[in-house]
């Protein structure tokens, strides 16, 4: 008997940060997932089975993530873990899941550990920060004819991935980072880092920053008359940057995988979707909502394909020959195989123009 698959219900679980530092993202991701689950249950089923999503809160704390995983896996007996937020949290939860053969499906973190080293039960969806930087940076550096590339990154696993990607990317064009500066999560003052990069004469800055730090750094730079090209990762690709940072943020580049769903988006399906989300949850959707939504969407597609006899084995087997086309949000087409557990390593470039993100390049191919 397969755990989590009942006669007319499939149980999937997710762990989000609903009370910690990333509660905002956690909530949006959960809402996105819930939206897709509800859609499915309203419109039909997966071979006669409805989908049920169980949500646990780990407050972005690996220790609590272990307990949450234990609860979902051993107590609630979920079929699969989807969209778990955070790298360390995933790392702590995965052993618990794998002991019981529970797939770690598309965690919301762009760390390479989510598909490396290869494990039968690991599936990861979007380009890692590493790949984003590795591919996008050389192209933009060449376009801008930058001579001195520097970086400011968050002193944790996330920042480190950005840094490594940037280093790898620069290597392909025989360049090196001229100056590396860091900050601690929650920092509010970036003056000395900016001064340092300015002092080093950087004309291109890779930002391993999230939201407030991105704004803070660019703000400080503009104040002190330092104006290099700024490039952020998909972590900085959120509407908050221009909403909070205002005019000063214009010109910032960021890599991205799915498009931010603006309510007044030009594309009709996104507009429709965004408004549906807004009606349901009474707030604007963000990229994290899209991540959540897409993850469940992909799960549904794979589960449909796996057939009525849904087991971990049959699911893995299906996944290992599946490919997903690009969706309305513009995610890159993804393919999976027994040895390929990252759907796609491609990302696009976008830039803030007139206070809004604009997609400015197609998928950057190596």
């Amino acid at each position: 008997q397969q755990q989590g698959v009942g006669k007319n219900e499939i149980l999937i679980g997710t762990i989000q940060d609903l009370s910690g530092p990333l509660a905002g993202f956690g909530k949006q991701a959960r809402n996105g997932m819930q939206l897709r689950v509800d859609e499915l249950n309203e419109q039909g089923s997966i071979h006669g089975r409805k989908l049920k999503l169980l949500v646990e809160d780990d407050g972005y704390d690996p220790k609590k993530a272990v307990l949450a995983a234990q609860k979902l896996v051993n107590q609630d007996r979920i079929f699969l873990m989807a969209g778990h937020l955070g790298t360390a949290q995933n790392m702590a939860a995965m052993p618990v899941q794998f002991e019981k053969g529970v797939v770690n499906f598309m965690p919301i973190t762009a760390a390479r550990e989510m598909y490396e080293p290869l494990h039968k039960l690991k599936y990861s969806f979007a380009a890692t920060y590493y790949d984003q930087m590795r591919l996008a940076l050389p192209k933009l550096v060449k376009d801008k004819q930058a001579r001195k590339v520097c970086t400011l990154y968050q002193d944790d696993d996330f920042g480190l991935e950005v840094l490594r990607g940037a280093e790898a990317g620069l290597k392909t064009i025989n360049m090196d980072l001229a100056e590396k500066t860091t900050y601690k999560r929650g920092a509010t003052d970036f003056s000395s880092q900016v001064a340092r990069m300015k002092g080093a004469g950087c004309d291109f800055v890779v930002l391993g920053t999230i939201i407030r730090e991105t704004i803070g750094t660019i703000g400080e730079a503009r104040k002190t008359g330092f104006s290099p090209t700024f490039l952020g990762s998909s972590a900085a690709y959120t509407d908050l940057i221009h909403k909070l940072g205002g005019k000063a943020m214009d010109g910032l580049y960021a890599t991205m995988t799915v498009q931010n769903p603006y309510l007044d988006e030009a594309s009709q399906p996104i507009r429709f979707w965004a408004n549906k989300y807004k009606t349901k949850f009474n707030e604007d959707p963000t990229v994290f909502s899209v991540y959540g939504y897409s993850i469940v969407d992909w799960f549904i597609k794979a589960a449909q394909k796996a057939g009525p006899n849904l087991t971990t084995d049959s699911f893995v087997k299906t996944m290992d020959s599946i490919s997903f086309d690009t969706d309305m949000f513009g995610a890159a087409p993804a393919t999976y195989g027994p040895n390929k557990r990252l759907g796609s390593d491609l990302s696009r470039l976008s830039q803030i123009q007139d206070g809004k993100w604009k997609v400015i390049s197609d998928y950057v191919k190596p």
């Binding site: 690996p62 220790k63 307990l67 790298t87 360390a88 002193d155 696993d157």
Partner: protein, 358 residues
């Protein structure tokens, strides 16, 4: 009601004071040993985690509850233990040897922190340990060669001499054995001159000194022992969580640890374990409880923090002696059964006095 007639000095220093103790603690031991067969896997995992935190709690209790030194940086020792264990077991050391080294290394770090503690008290000590915690956390992140830095470090199951504690049950027994031994060691310390010296320092440094207690030595010792227990707990934690990253040993962890002993009840070893049960159990309880609420509240982000904080506040307000205090009341109620009077534990008006002059 129970009357104890003392007939020898032996009786005063025995761990189990009377037959009741023997009976109840044997029962507890039997229950703990039987737990893997009676409890669900999930519950057992929680119990394991409680035991681990209980060991850390013992250490902090020794320091805060008995020596009166508050540390807001205990996660550092916890982390030193965890990383040491990870590095050594990954290098193929048998886990008991690695644990011994983890404890010793943490103790050593404890001595280093204990040194400033000789000169500062109260809030200053708190901040010194807090600062120290931050520095150690930074150290974990920077010393990439050993700790793996921010990319993290994976830890295997505890192995020794061909045997591996790789199932929930076997690991539970490893933790149980550690916890029992640690508890016994603490109990022994507290009924001997060393433990009394700690208590003396807590209550009056100046007269402890005039009784011949070397303040610097005993404060440092207290730090070292406390750190060793935290390190021991950390070692087990590493095996349990299997992935270490620096931010697991941050200030929030330190505060959690401190909350644990305070809620458990400062000044009692029971409190360490009661606090651990609380720390691990409460989030689970909240998880269950919030499913009963309407979605608008139950699913709102932040709810867990609100409940956690509210329970904490309620505790301080209604049970300042912690869980152990509550337990004493319950026990007294049963012992005195028909004679229990409500006023017996009535809170007296009490008055704060400057601790700056102690």
């Amino acid at each position: 009601m129970r009357f104890l007639f003392k007939t020898s000095y032996e009786q005063d220093i025995r761990l189990a004071r009377h037959g009741g103790h023997v009976f109840w603690y044997s029962l507890l031991a039997a229950a703990l040993i039987a737990a893997p067969w009676a409890a669900s896997e999930y519950l057992l995992a929680q119990m394991t985690q409680m035991l681990i935190y209980g060991v850390v709690g013992l250490g902090l209790m020794l320091l805060a509850g008995f020596t009166g030194l508050f540390s807001i940086g205990h996660a550092a020792f916890f982390g030193v233990g965890a990383y040491t264990q990870a590095v050594l077991t990954n290098a193929g050391w048998p886990f008991p040897a690695a644990m011994a080294v983890a404890a010793a290394l943490s103790a050593l770090v404890g001595v280093v922190v204990g040194l400033p503690a000789l000169r500062v008290k109260g809030i200053y000590l708190g901040i010194a340990t807090l600062a120290f915690g931050f520095i150690v956390e930074e150290g974990f992140a920077r010393w990439e060669k050993v700790t793996g830095g921010n990319a993290g470090l994976t830890v295997g199951a505890p192995k020794a001499f061909g045997w591996a504690a790789d199932t929930g049950t076997s690991f539970y027994f490893v933790c149980l054995a550690t916890a029992v031994l640690a508890t016994l060691a603490c109990l022994n310390l507290l009924r001997s001159p060393t433990g009394r010296a700690f208590v003396a320092i807590r209550d009056s440094e100046i007269s402890a000194q005039s009784m011949g207690i070397h303040l610097a030595y005993y404060k440092t010792l207290s730090f070292a022992l406390s750190a060793a227990l935290a390190g021991l707990g950390g070692a087990l934690y590493g095996h349990q969580i299997r992935f270490l990253s620096p931010d697991q040993f941050n200030i929030v962890q330190s505060i959690d640890l401190l909350l644990m002993v305070v809620i458990g009840g400062l000044g009692s070893l029971h409190g360490a374990f009661l606090g651990a049960i609380f720390l691990i159990g409460l989030p689970q309880a909240i998880g269950l409880f919030k499913d009963l609420l309407p979605d608008a509240i139950g699913q709102a982000p932040g709810l867990k923090a609100v409940i956690y904080g509210a329970v904490l506040i309620a505790f301080v307000l209604f049970e300042p002696m912690g869980l152990y205090g509550r337990w004493l009341k319950v026990r007294t109620w049963f012992q005195l059964f028909p004679f229990y009077r409500r006023g017996m534990f009535r809170r007296q008006k009490s008055f704060q006095k400057s601790e700056r002059l102690r």
